[in-house]
Amino acid sequence: EQIEHDQKIGIKAIRLFLQSKTSYDVLPVSYRLIVLDTSLLVKKSLTILLQNNIVSAPLWNNQTSRFAGLLTASDFINVIQYYFQFPEKFEFVEQLTLDGLRDVERAIGCDQIETASIHPFKSLYEACVKMLESKARRIPLIDEDEKTHREIVVSVLTQYRILKFVALNCKETKMLLKPIKDLKGLGTIKDISTCTLQTPVIEVIHLLAHKSVSSVPIVDDQGKLINVYEAVDILALVKGGMYTDLDLSVGDALLRRPEDFEGVHTCTMNDRLSTIMDTIRKSRLHRLFIVDDEGKLVSVITLSDILNYILFGE
């Protein structure tokens, strides 16, 4: 009962914390925001992202003098799918500008991701709700210029940054001692698509797109987890110009990963949110794969699942 009670109290305290803080509070005192003009070539924008160690950036349309959403890994997935559907359009893909990404979305029939945004002085709780509703993993903070009422992108907040802010500032995370297996939403075993090292990378990319997930676990023939292909790995693939070699295996595609990749996080059903939040505090954890004692894949816990549980669980 004590653990049950502490879990409820801890979750309640974290919710109150999220309601009492604004997105503005998460921002450092000084920081940099990289924005891309939509007339840039998609290829050039990829170079800029990789050079600045970022995987996403707000877009600025200088024709309308407004912001045109966010460039994310999903856009590069769309470009690869477009090339796969229309291989004769190689030249078009090479000359594609960020303005053209919307046409690519229409050409492959994928729904336009409406970028939800929020004012920096709204509560973190509201930012989380908006992100969960829009299935986005990041949300632009938009205000307006006091004189001209033109939009300003103040920053872009990610689920990871919010959870890290909670892990750094909420001591109540230490009270979350219930094992994952007893947590609704986190311990529920999901039906997740997997692949093997020999699977052609284009099939994995289709899975990422059609299942709207940001990673596909790679298992061996006993179902043991051996690696994960993530949406952000696409950037390295496109940068290497390797998207044209579509029967490349996912095992080979992973060789493009930068040497400083920190590895895939795993846990078991006996782990608890207290230690998960502590791991988020210390390292860049983007999801956790639940494995059994033999290392076989059981399920996955995403940052959305953790936010969902914190906001609406218990």
């Binding site: 003098s65 690696n227 390295a236 095992g251 080979d252 040497e259 400083d260 006996n270 794969f289």
Partner: protein
């Protein structure tokens, strides 16, 4: 806690694993994305080694090509250009939205034969030409200011100068 990093997902171990799986295969010549980022070098304004009068001439010519206007320079401020620039923004902004951006462009000498052209935002005016009196309010008190129109026009001017030169 049984939270761990999956060893086979670390790049060096994955690479060894792939080499073992198919030794003479493609794997050997697929290189990892370089992690060292070429440090972007930032400068204040733009640098120039041209003769000061030539630089000023280039700037006035570029401003003219871009349809900007400027105030006649005073004797004391020969090396400063006070620019006013209609900011065409496609979206229908309310009439009273000021769309004349003011900018100050100033030439500085860093050392003999080494000059720097600095660009500074200098407020908005409505097209009726009356300076936004509320803009008399010191820029410093403005709490939320969009830099994008300024960055965009500065970019266009720098590109015009780069293309001309």
């Amino acid at each position: 806690s049984t939270i761990a990093i999956l060893p086979s997902s670390l790049p060096s171990i994955h690479r060894a694993f792939m080499m073992e799986l198919n030794p003479n295969q493609l794997s050997s010549n697929i290189n990892p994305t370089p992690t060292k980022k070429s440090k972007t070098r930032w400068h204040f304004g733009i640098r120039s080694r041209s003769y000061p009068l030539d630089v000023m001439g280039e700037i006035y010519r570029a401003l003219k090509n871009l349809g900007a206007e400027w105030a006649k320079p005073t004797e004391e401020e020969l090396w400063t250009i006070r620019v006013r620039w209609k900011y065409e923004s496609g979206d229908a902004m309310q009439e009273n939205t000021p769309n004349l951006m003011k900018m100050q462009i100033q030439l500085f000498q860093l050392e003999p034969n080494n000059y720097l052209v600095d660009f500074k935002f200098d407020g908005w005016e409505t097209s009726t030409g009356t300076p936004q009196d509320s803009f008399k309010q010191d820029l410093d008190e403005v709490g939320s200011f969009s830099a994008y129109p300024f960055l965009h026009l500065a970019t266009r001017l720098i590109m015009e100068l780069a293309v001309n030169s």
